[in-house]
Symmetry: C2
Subunit: 182 residues, 2 copies
């Protein structure tokens, strides 16, 4: 694994645990075993590192969603797959989705990274909207609204489970997703 990837991995882990401001160059450098000055060779500054983080995260996530959509399983199973992704991202409550972790610090972030966050959520929302649009159930609410509710539920469930360091919080909050017809 090249150094750049190693830097991204370490930084991502820290941000997802403590938020953007909770990740310092000193933390990252020490964990890898280099000096903080070396980080600037790979990334011009912290803002650029943050943007690269969110960009990579969105790419990897998009690939997983694409794989799910192409898998040929039922819509309900696809939804379950998405929930499983958000569940896995918790890692026992230690980490959150990168986008969730960055959202609170939004006002301290540079524009490029905010655009990446917006694009990430648009991607998930688009995927969910298409999923819900396939079914005719719950015609009293739009696919857009259902998608927005599901994403908000997943992000909020992560937030609560992370605070409590308890996956049961996530499971309880998301249980309803499996009981309503997709």
């Amino acid at each position: 694994m090249d150094r750049k990837t190693e830097l991204l991995d370490t930084a991502e882990n820290l941000v997802r645990r403590r938020g953007f401001q909770g990740m310092s160059f000193a933390d990252v450098a020490q964990e890898i075993g280099i000096k903080t000055a070396s980080i600037h060779y790979h990334f011009p500054g912290k803002a650029a590192l943050g943007a690269a983080l969110m960009e990579r995260y969105a790419e990897v996530f998009a690939a997983k969603l694409e794989e799910l959509a192409q898998s040929g399983v039922t819509p309900a199973a696809q939804l379950a797959g998405l929930v499983a992704q958000y569940r896995a991202a918790l890692q026992g409550g230690e980490t959150m989705c990168l986008c969730v972790a960055l959202s609170v610090n939004r006002d301290t972030l540079a524009e490029p990274i905010i655009r990446e966050m917006t694009a990430f959520r648009q991607m998930v929302l688009g995927w969910l909207t298409e999923l819900y649009a396939q079914s005719e159930v719950n015609a009293d609410i739009s696919s857009d609204a259902r998608a927005a509710a599901t994403l908000a539920l997943l992000e909020g469930a992560q937030l609560i489970a992370h605070t409590q360091k308890d996956m049961a919080c996530f499971d309880l909050a998301t249980a309803g997703l499996f009981m309503q017809p997709v």
Copy 2:
């Protein structure tokens, strides 16, 4: 208004905009028009200030929930009242619920403040659970699970609306709460 209240107000506003680490003594002092050293007269340290913040927030919120529960309106109207509280807390997308703002920084916070956060959520969950327990609808899912889902949805909707600075995000995500029978 006494100085202590002024300090709490200013600090709360900053934390709810940028997270705990985004609130500095310099910010708070400057906005009020005093020096940072003066803050230490009212609060021993930043950790104590944070705990006081969450404690006060929980008290105020509990009073509002109590008022709602005593109002004599229908369960659906009570739920709408809670959603309105979370909506108002957004202030156009500028601020989030204090507990939401603190959750991401959880690993950098002292124990007392985490206990306050847990107590806060337990309060809201208890209120919601009782509300849902009153109705016989949706017997296929427990009141506990419904309450957990609603709280997670509200917190996640705040997170997204704050990132986008767009109340429409919150409204879209929470629209479904008003369409299912309580």
